[in-house]
């Protein structure tokens, strides 16, 4: 989403350019601080800028001097912070104007405001808001991607509408009228793109978090506490495959008297017991142990499962042709031995 070259003149040009310079100055100071704190990641800024450049290069024409495409800046803002995201958006816009005649020099300030301030800063703000609300990475980043795009459209539409209503000769509508016309024209083109960017941003951040949580930690996308929670979730998910006995052998909870409750395997108090006990008490029933309590028998339950699995595997392997059918004209075992 760029405001095209040549459309802004007079006070709109000067005001947006001045505001763009301020945003860039803030962003560059953030970039300097980033490099000072993490000098080994200096090339990452260029890589991230190249990334924004790529994403925001596919143009689709829209109404009154705009063309639309994924912004890419919300993702950059989420991963690298709002200031750096805004500054990289500005540099990316400069290169696009120079290399591809996309956007332009006159509207550079306006585009920095919409894509940098609206996209990167807005995306980051809503991502943080989502995280503070306790949303998972997928939902929070998706919210950031969606709202970053919507803010970009609102700022672009406002700049364009403001210029046409207040500074262009012989306007036909008021500011509100132009804004309504521009937004009505944006919706069919931009809404699918915003939804797509929401999905892509959410999935990308979640994917990075799953594969390399250390990257998100290093870039301060998630805090140390959040990383610990992520790791705990990973451990919990992998731990679900373990038997209760294995858990019990490692879990030691201390009672008020200072004595360990985990004196023997299988005596731990897990969530099921707590929930079931609470439900039973709420229903007026007295909680009691299962009638057939295999957990007290040590590894009997595991041994039974193992034996059952082995037996089932033997039966299925021996009679697979009855279950799935024999391949026509396929040589049988005797023919294979003969050949």
């Amino acid at each position: 989403m760029h405001i095209s070259e040549g459309i802004l003149t007079g006070p709109s040009f000067w005001a947006t350019t001045a505001a763009g310079v301020v945003v860039m100055a803030w962003g560059v100071s953030d970039m300097k601080r980033f490099i000072k704190e993490q000098p080994e990641r200096k090339p990452l800024l260029g890589m991230a800028g190249a990334f924004i450049f790529l994403v925001s290069l596919i143009p689709i024409p829209a109404y009154i001097g705009t063309c639309s495409h994924p912004c890419g800046t919300p993702l950059a803002g989420i991963l690298l912070g709002p200031g750096i995201g805004a500054a990289l958006a500005g540099l990316s816009l400069l290169l696009q104007a120079l290399l591809f005649a996309h956007g332009g020099f006159i509207t550079l300030g306006a585009n920095i405001l919409s894509l940098g301030l609206g996209g990167a800063v807005g995306g980051w703000l809503f991502f943080k808001l989502g995280r503070n609300m306790g949303l998972p990475l997928l939902a929070a980043a998706g919210l950031g991607g969606l709202m970053g795009d919507i803010l970009t459209y609102i700022i672009s539409g406002s700049i364009l509408g403001g210029h046409l209503a207040f500074f262009a000769p012989q306007p036909q509508y008021s500011f509100g009228g132009y804004l309504a016309v521009i937004m009505a024209a944006y919706v069919p083109v931009q809404l699918p793109i915003a939804l797509g960017e929401m999905a892509v941003t959410g999935i990308a951040v979640r994917s990075i978090g799953r594969q390399r949580p250390d990257v998100l930690k290093a870039l301060r996308v998630i805090s140390g506490t959040a990383l610990a929670i992520l790791l705990m979730c990973g451990i919990a998910v992998s731990g679900l495959s373990l038997s209760p006995e294995v858990w019990a052998s490692g879990s030691v909870s201390v009672t008020e008297e200072g004595k360990s409750k985990a004196d023997k395997p299988g005596s731990y108090s897990g969530m099921d017991e707590k929930v079931n006990e609470a439900m039973a008490e709420a229903a007026g029933a007295k909680p009691h142990d299962p009638f057939i309590n295999l957990e007290n028998k040590g590894d009997v339950w595991n041994a039974m499962l193992l034996a059952g699995g082995g037996l089932a595997g033997f039966i299925i392997g021996r009679s697979w042709h009855l279950l799935f059918g024999r391949i026509k004209d396929a040589p049988n075992d005797r023919q294979q031995l003969k050949s």
């Binding site: 070259e5 000098p39 260029g46 990334f51 790529l54 797509g196 994917s207 594969q211």
Partner: protein, 209 residues
């Protein structure tokens, strides 16, 4: 992309060219005169011709802005003015709006032609050196250099992954396409992250900053 020969403006100082572009763009937006815009446009085209810039690249800097210029012209023609010129269904094109749109279109072409003149006659490293001379912060110039160097590489990686996903049926249906694109985007970012670290180590090993 810059011309390798020393003909025309190729031998001109990059700093002077950079200042010329900025001044031309500023005059173009402040003066708002179609004769000035036309003059700037012709000057830039003559400059590219004298510098023997490849015709294919020149054509790019002429045709690419047309895509964005047409909505500007028609948007202003329909959105500004009082005197109706043509009525196409419910859309009215106004005389004053068309004049404004034409002027804006001419400004776009002139600005883009000057950008092309700078870019096609100056190697990017010289542009970066000129920016440094004008006290543009190092971090900005370095980042621009990295972006220019790696943008095409990342694009190729993105295309290769997308082609691979397409061959495996990963782009069938919009839901799967979004998911695949998100995963590829994450991979591209992680590759860029790892590559950035390797580059930094390589630079440090060679005595760089």
């Amino acid at each position: 992309m810059a011309v390798r020969s020393h003909s025309g403006l190729r031998g001109m100082n990059a700093r002077l060219k950079l200042v010329s572009v900025v001044v031309a763009v500023l005059f173009n937006v402040v003066m708002l005169d179609y004769r000035l815009s036309l003059g700037l446009l012709l000057t830039a085209w003559i400059g590219m011709a004298v510098s023997r810039a490849p015709l294919r690249h020149v054509a790019w800097f002429v045709l690419a802005p047309l895509w964005a210029t047409l909505p500007v012209v028609f948007g202003l023609a329909a959105g500004l003015g009082q005197t109706p010129l043509i009525k196409i269904w419910s859309l009215t094109i106004y005389h004053e709006g068309l004049a404004q749109g034409g002027l804006a279109g001419l400004r776009v072409l002139a600005d883009t032609a000057w950008a092309g003149l700078l870019f096609l006659t100056t190697p990017f490293t010289e542009i970066l050196a000129a920016l440094r001379w004008f006290r543009v912060p190092d971090v900005v110039a370095d980042t621009l250099g990295f972006m220019y160097r790696y943008v095409f590489l990342l694009w190729e990686e993105f295309c290769a992954m997308r082609l691979s996903a397409h061959a495996r049926g990963g782009l069938v249906g919009w839901r799967r396409e979004w998911r695949t694109t998100g995963t590829i985007t994450a991979q591209i970012f992680l590759r860029a992250y790892d590559r950035a670290q390797r580059i930094q180590h390589a630079m440090q090993a060679r005595g760089g900053a």
